[in-house]
Symmetry: C2
Subunit: 337 residues, 2 copies
DNA sequence: TTGTAAGCGTTATCAG
DNA sequence: CTGATAACGCTTACAA
């Protein structure tokens, strides 16, 4: 077809009979253009189908409007709902999301961040995995802002959004106790991420505080199938637990399904179960799972607002981390309530 | 901090003691550079933390490497798994995905495509909603390639990937028949998208072909809750159906939950159920849902391969649409099998 | 308010 | 193989 498909400001200017800077100004929020000029420019632009080239604009402004989302397991309910919330809020803030899938390998987080730098993303938001400290520094040095969600790291540069996993897990012990449970168990994956481990440790600590032991089992990746296997292991022990805290809802769903259909255990009659994340499925009537809600909207808001703040603030004054609460959502997988 | 955060090829050239074109060539796949020059350039680049600016590169090549994904309801299992597959394959092909959330309103698909043009995306892949024909033309005129997934439209320009929904739905009638079912029902949402309607019509037509009527009910958006409401309506009728085809798995899950827990109907004993999509939850033991599998990997592959093809081919020879099969996945929500 | 001109960081072209 | 030079499309002083 045509060799030069995109319309440039130059062509609009010619058609409108003005200079190309007039065109530029027309599409720049805080610029002064006479109403008459603006009208003619807009008219010509519409007729020609002109759209400002954000690549070129980004080149000039050294602000691309691009924010990279670095994610693995994005098919998972919790992850995908977080992506939904973040993309929506970014768009509301006039930015746009680039999505990088890091399922392949662990080093791929570093590769993803390199990609973000190449596209001169204004920032990167990391939802999974953990970048090498050297890459983090590289990003920061390149003026890239970094947000870590539920990564619970102690690096200084990035903005960190975390949940109070341990505190939440602690509150659950009381709930189990009120339901008359005494033999507590914790079903975790082998992923060993900080938030997963915080839930485990918080639960154990709170139990120990009132003199109860917790049987801990860890297996596989963080998903439904692991929940089934964990049920296999925990429910065949001589002293069967009467309360299980699963590290995530997905694990809890697998656990409940195995408990009911394979071991014919009544929930919550003979066994109380809790999860974490409050994915959509937790509310389905096959589960009715009591769980802690990830405040996805709040997380997204925190991230986007922080990005919106002027980077030129005194770095010392800038907030570097925020801790949000995970509220307990009561459903019928725990007795009482 | 520093005012000019990003390192440019210029600086690398100076440090390496070569011209900037030498630097450019070093990072351009098919360019000729002497091993010695390359070594010095790479060394300098590493030391300085240089990364090619893809914004500028895109400006030059008029090929940004960006592909826009236009999606609504991305928190949904089927959508998110498709996003996962597409992003992965795009990355494997050396491209990168921009994700645009169109949950807000219907016109937002048009807005999204405008955004894609601004960032000079090489292509846009539309997973939900339908763009106005004028916008489609605008994209095509701007050299943007367009892929429509399961949009089942008859526009000429875009590449269309569709499932044979009607044929799949037809095969299901036979399956229900073999299970001894005679009172068929179809549970649909009110969304009325082409693929949803094709399933409905295909099912009705195949049933009529063997002399059976189908009770059709439509309600709300395409989700779990609608499935519950649809169960409410279909299972309280005087002649209760003994087989229900739900337009999507999400609807089917809601339907099954209501049927079992609210109406105490045994599945598949008293009622056979089928869905569409084969989301992860369909395999969970609370559902064991017989369903049609969306070939997400194949869809992603078709899309990305088509994008990879040289756009300069004779447009007449270029393939404009492909139709994939949805295989039936047998599970225990239908008797026999 | 408007136009002119410089520069952002690339890559392609073309001599050498 | 290498280096100078001209685009690419935009914004923004600066001068009119």
């Amino acid at each position: 077809m045509s060799q030069k498909p995109f319309v440039s400001a130059q062509e609009v200017a010619e058609r409108a009979g003005v200079s190309r800077s007039a065109v530029s100004r027309t599409f720049t929020p805080g610029a002064s253009v006479s109403p008459e000029t603006r009208r003619r420019v807009v008219e010509a632009a519409d007729a020609l189908g002109y759209h400002v080239n954000h690549l070129a604009r980004g080149l000039m402004l050294s602000e691309s409007g691009i924010v990279c989302l670095i994610v693995s397991d994005m098919g998972t309910p919790y992850r995908s709902s977080l992506i939904r919330a973040v993309t929506q809020q970014l768009q509301d803030a006039g930015k746009i999301a680039m999505l990088i899938n890091t399922d392949r390998s662990d080093g791929s987080v570093d590769l993803a961040l390199r990609q973000a730098i190449r596209y001169r993303a204004d920032a990167s938001i990391i939802l999974s995995g953990m970048p090498d400290k050297s890459i983090t520094q590289l990003c920061l040095k390149n003026g890239q802002r970094l947000v870590l969600i539920n990564r619970d790291d102690d690096q200084e540069g990035p903005f960190r959004i975390n949940l109070d996993d341990a505190a939440a897990a602690g509150r659950l012990v009381t709930a189990f106790l009120r339901a008359g449970c005494r033999r507590l168990a914790f079903a975790n994956s082998e992923a060993g991420t900080p938030s997963l481990m915080a839930r485990e440790h918080g639960f154990i600590a709170a139990a120990k505080a009132i003199g109860l032991e917790v049987v801990v089992e860890r297996y596989g990746p963080t998903g439904y199938e692991s929940g089934r296997v964990l049920a296999q292991r925990l429910l065949t022990q001589s002293e069967r637990p009467d309360a299980v805290f699963c590290a995530t809802d997905l694990i809890a769903c697998g656990f409940m399904d195995a408990a009911r259909h394979q071991f014919s255990i009544a929930i919550p009659g003979q066994l109380c179960v809790a999860g974490f994340d409050d994915i959509e499925q937790a509310a389905w009537s096959s589960y009715e799972l009591t769980t802690f809600a990830q405040p996805v909207e709040a997380i997204a808001r925190e991230a986007v607002t922080w990005l919106g703040k002027d980077g030129s603030d005194d770095p010392a004054e800038r907030i570097h981390s925020v801790r949000l609460n995970a509220d307990l959502v009561w459903r019928s997988s725990i007795r009482g309530g």
